[in-house]
């Protein structure tokens, strides 16, 4: 009887322990990643390649999302404001929302699917096929060779892709305002600049950088701890995407609470 009453608590307890262990492993991998900075000879020539893979290759999906987000934001703003608020506020809403929230977060979530999954699957496969052991025996420190270039590329490229997404989103919002809302360009730009603060850019940059860090480190973490063949790789990949998406949302709220 007592066992049955206590069962949910013991499940929660076990989950909490697993979570703590996971965070511990993440902390250790992150520390090791920063220590590996000294092996420039190992990771240096891999960085560009990863920047292309993580950054450039993600541009299409980020742009695609941004275009449609811009359109919807513009139309929803005018729908919400009908009559009550001057139409140029559409520009305020599109600009602020893209920059502060949707640009970084939607890009981050899209890339956690694309980049996080890719990293976890690639490193996970290398783990279960003993390629990581092979790196070790050939005197390549695996964290310097596999993790560091991906994490640095994430930190550098997420902000770049996010900036592009923000620009494209605002652009598509502006085009929508011109074509469908009978707004003029000066009106839209007036709204865009009205409440603009340079801090908005910093804020977006901080978010994107932290998302890049979180997505790549979590992808690497699940990849590194993969066990048990193809099925294990599948599991790590899914977990990497779920955990990094959740982390993005939590971080997003964290930055809003601490910085705004």
């Amino acid at each position: 009887m007592t066992e049955r009453i206590l069962a949910p608590f013991s499940t929660i307890g076990r989950r909490a322990v697993a979570l703590a262990a996971g965070i511990g492993r993440w902390g250790m991998l992150t520390a090791e990643t920063f220590r590996s900075l000294r092996h420039v000879d190992v990771w240096g020539r891999l960085l560009l390649q990863q920047m292309a893979k993580i950054g450039l290759d993600s541009v299409p999906i980020a742009v695609f999302i941004a275009i449609f987000t811009g359109i919807v934001l513009s139309l929803q703003a005018s729908y919400t404001f009908t009559g009550a608020v001057p139409l140029y506020f559409v520009g305020v809403l599109v600009g602020k929302t893209m920059m502060l929230e949707l640009g970084p977060v939607l890009t981050g979530l899209a890339l956690s699917g694309r980049v996080g999954a890719n990293i976890a699957a690639e490193i996970g496969t290398m783990r279960v096929t003993e390629q990581i052991d092979a790196l070790e025996t050939m005197a390549y420190p695996p964290v310097a060779y596999l993790v560091l270039p991906r994490v640095l590329a994430g930190i550098i490229m997420f902000p770049v892709v996010t900036a592009l997404a923000i620009a494209v989103g605002i652009g598509s919002g502006w085009l929508t305002a011109l074509q469908l809302l009978d707004m003029s360009t000066p009106e839209f730009v007036r709204g865009l600049t009205l409440f603009f603060e340079p801090f908005d850019v910093t804020f977006a940059f901080i978010k994107a950088t932290s998302f890049g860090f979180v997505v790549t480190t979590i992808g690497c973490l699940f990849g590194f701890h993969t066990r048990g063949g193809a099925e294990g790789v599948g599991t790590s990949t899914t977990q990497a995407v779920v955990v990094s998406s959740m982390s993005i949302l939590v971080l997003d709220a964290f930055w809003a609470v601490t910085l705004l």
């Binding site: 096929t129 003993e130 790196l135 025996t137 050939m138 420190p141």
Partner: protein, 249 residues
């Protein structure tokens, strides 16, 4: 003593794999390790390069104790050791040539041309000339295995550890690889540890032969001593007669 394992214990959770395993490999010899599938041969071999660390006991290689070695020294030591993985473990994002050249590149002593020549030479030694631009996914199982061997010998290591180098190869290729192992030993003075199930290969390449059984070393001796052993467990394994094994244990 070039490679030495003293009373090594290793368990994964409840699975106890090594239980007091000891082995000494003499400088310049080729030592064959036999054992049934799942007996812990690969686990044993991984201890020699520090891919696994013993729960208890210690491992010495080239005068250094692996488990106490700072990372930097461990990596330096690994440059003297070539490791042939049981399932090749080729880097699948790289061509065969890049795979084989990886170790040389890390040593930073060789020019691009030297690396290219050495890679070509090693591929020829294992009978893979002309396949250097292929990717691992485009190779057969046996070709992968041989590419793995080429990768291990490319750095001209002092020690070579082979995990089932001839399993799954046709008789002719098997003989080629056995000869290659002998040649590495005779001409380059390599100290080798060869894991195999194949008795023919074992007799062909082994200066001494050991058998791993129940987490410990059950036998160690010359090929002649192995042929005339009276230990039922060893004899049963070598001759493929399970009934001898049952009587003995």
């Amino acid at each position: 003593m070039s490679i030495q394992m003293n009373e090594v214990y290793k368990a994964f959770g409840d699975v106890r794999v090594l239980e007091g395993f000891s082995l000494e490999v003499e400088e310049g010899e080729t030592l064959v390790v036999l054992g049934r599938s799942g007996s812990g041969k690969s686990v044993m071999l991984k201890h020699i390069v520090g891919l696994l660390l013993p729960d208890k006991g210690n491992v010495w290689v080239d005068g250094q104790q692996i488990s106490n070695l700072p990372t930097k020294e461990l990596y330096l030591l690994r440059r003297k050791v070539g490791y042939v993985f049981q399932f090749a473990a080729l880097f699948d994002s790289m061509s065969v040539a890049e795979n084989v050249g990886m170790g040389l590149e890390r040593m930073k002593e060789f020019s691009r041309e030297e690396i290219r020549d050495r890679v070509e030479e090693c591929l020829t030694l294992v009978g893979l000339e002309g396949l250097s631009d292929r990717f691992p996914a485009e190779l057969s199982g046996g070709q992968k295995k041989r590419a793995g061997i080429a990768r291990a010998i490319a750095i001209r290591p002092k020690y070579l550890l082979y995990d089932e180098p001839t399993t799954g190869l046709d008789p002719l290729t098997k003989a080629v690889i056995d000869r290659l192992i002998l040649r590495m030993n005779r001409e380059l003075g390599v100290t080798g540890v060869v894991i195999t199930h194949d008795m023919e290969s074992a007799y062909r390449v082994g200066d001494r032969i050991a058998m791993l059984y129940g987490g410990r070393r059950r036998f160690l001796g010359t090929p002649d001593e192995l042929r005339s052993t009276t230990d039922g467990v060893v004899k049963g394994f070598v001759e493929g007669r399970p009934e001898l094994l049952e009587n003995a244990s």
